[in-house]
């Protein structure tokens, strides 16, 4: 097991874990502190805390969740010491209640209690694979995520890009079940909309 290998001093195992988690750790730390260099400091401190606490890690949560809890606590403490208070709303974004789809897409004039789509969403299975899976598609997704409020960006990265479970993300980022879901919803909604715009261009 990875924890065992690291406990036994296996540097390659530790380096593998660090490479996997470090980019996300830096982004999460940066949410709470004043600069990138302080964030790097916080991550380094958090790793030292992880190594010191490794003997006590009991495996009740996943290792990465446990590491992120240490990181989040370290970053929050550091932020407070810097006199920074970061309201949740500035991390989560102020658009959590915005409609997922432009209301104009629904034709309310149609006499159907459900209200119909005025234009149907495209079927992306019709997009040639070299375009759908082309570099530009991933650049569009990456740029859209980079522009999201930081907590929305981190939730979609951990859940959808890195494949963490909702429970892991909730614990790692200290979010309620509802908040995690709402943040994920907003993030996915915006990435979908960006893909729709991109894939509709020159689709014909």
């Amino acid at each position: 097991m990875l924890v065992e290998q690291i406990r036994n001093g296996d540097e390659a195992a530790f380096a593998m874990l660090a490479d996997e988690l470090q980019p996300a750790m830096l982004r999460v730390a940066a949410m709470y502190v004043s600069s990138r260099s302080v964030a790097e400091d916080v991550v380094q401190d958090a790793w030292i805390g992880v190594l010191r606490g490794l003997e006590r890690f009991e495996g009740r949560s996943s290792l990465r969740t446990w590491i992120f809890r240490i990181l989040t606590n370290t970053a929050k403490t550091r932020g407070i010491r810097e006199g920074r208070s970061v309201p949740f709303s500035s991390l989560a974004g102020d658009d959590l209640d915005a409609p997922s789809v432009d209301p104009d897409r629904f034709d309310t004039a149609v006499d159907d209690p459900r209200g119909h789509w005025s234009t149907l969403p495209d079927d992306w299975r019709g997009v040639p694979e070299e375009r759908l899976l082309g570099n530009e598609t991933f650049a569009v997704i990456g740029r859209t995520i980079d522009e999201l409020p930081p907590m929305q960006a981190e939730v979609i990265r951990l859940r959808d890009a890195l494949g963490w479970t909702s429970e892991e993300v909730r614990n790692a980022l200290d979010l309620s079940e509802t908040n995690q879901r709402v943040l994920l919803h907003r993030a996915r909604t915006k990435v979908r909309a960006a893909l729709e715009r991109y894939l509709a261009d020159e689709a014909t």
Binding site: E11, F14, L26, P99, F106, T137, I156, D160, R181
Partner: protein, 79 residues
Amino acid sequence: MGREMTCKELVELVTAYLEGALRGRRRRRFEAHLAACDGCTGYLAQIRQTIRLTGRLTEERVTDAQRTALLAAFRDWRG
């Protein structure tokens, strides 16, 4: 049976649905609407594709300086 779910309502519940957080009557209303609505079926398919495509993103790599500092801390800890 209450009134039917609208498209506008359904698109707000897609993540709850995919997360398994819609239960009982709400889930049945969601699925009943989906079965009768091409637009929402297409929308849900786009969301699923979005999740799949996001899953193929690659994570940036850490800088060598950070890696070196961290491995130094590890060796220090190992003693």
